[in-house]
Symmetry: C2
Subunit: 143 residues, 2 copies
């Protein structure tokens, strides 16, 4: 396994919902986006297309299972899925539940914010996070 | 095949590099991002996780082949891959070659632009597009 000193994803020190030899799944700490989750590949790899075929399919399956868990629990209007990594070029995927009243909708979450979501709505979404963690754990236990 | 009247991706009327029963590959008309390409699923489906397993794997393979072609010809610093669809909720993937001198780097292309790329550099990248189309055609012919 390749490790890069100073890479924040090689040295990921946050709570993980799934943690195996190949990847971790975490709930992101994004106050405006409860349910924003990430799959982080363990090996310090730059691009999806740097992976061996079996690993690429494993990662794809993980992103798909995470999307299913996010849809099941968070009931978003839309799911956004992205692998960018310009700032931290260590392969990871964002899975983001989107709602008509979220801070950027319909723009991507990386655009300028256009509104503040009602605090009670955010609280209600945040209250779903334990169920989301359970749903992720359950889906990945089946793999 | 589901078609939605008024959906701009159901009624896609642009030149396609790949065009089969399941998906099309197009080069996006993004002046600041020569080599920006998309895979557009033909059926009017909202999310990756709405696809049957075989279709999901087929689409994943297409996005991967497109990423390989973009890397081969455009030689980007980083590739960004995303399925958003908030504005047009018809399943499609963006594959975007990124460079340190592009309009938004290292931010996502949907953030506020931070610079104008040198026109000669953009011209040189644009000059690669026929080779990119060839590389895509070749890779998808092998599938």
């Amino acid at each position: 396994m390749t490790r890069l000193a100073g890479c924040e994803l090689c040295e990921l020190a946050v709570s993980k919902v799934v943690d195996n030899d190949k990847f971790a799944v975490i709930l992101a700490d994004e106050p405006n986006y409860p349910g924003f989750a990430r799959v982080i590949w363990k090996d310090h790899v730059r691009e999806v297309s740097d992976l061996l075929d079996a690993d690429r399919l494993l990662l794809n399956e993980a992103v798909w299972q995470l999307e299913l868990a996010v849809r099941e629990v968070m009931q978003p209007l839309k799911v956004n899925v992205a692998s960018l990594g310009n700032v931290v070029p260590h392969l990871h995927w964002h899975v983001i539940p989107r709602y008509a009243d979220d801070a950027h909708f319909p723009a991507p979450v990386w655009a300028q914010a256009v509104r503040a979501t009602d605090a009670a709505v955010l609280d209600a979404r945040r209250a779903l996070l334990p169920r989301l963690a359970e749903a992720i754990t359950r889906r990945f236990a089946k793999q």
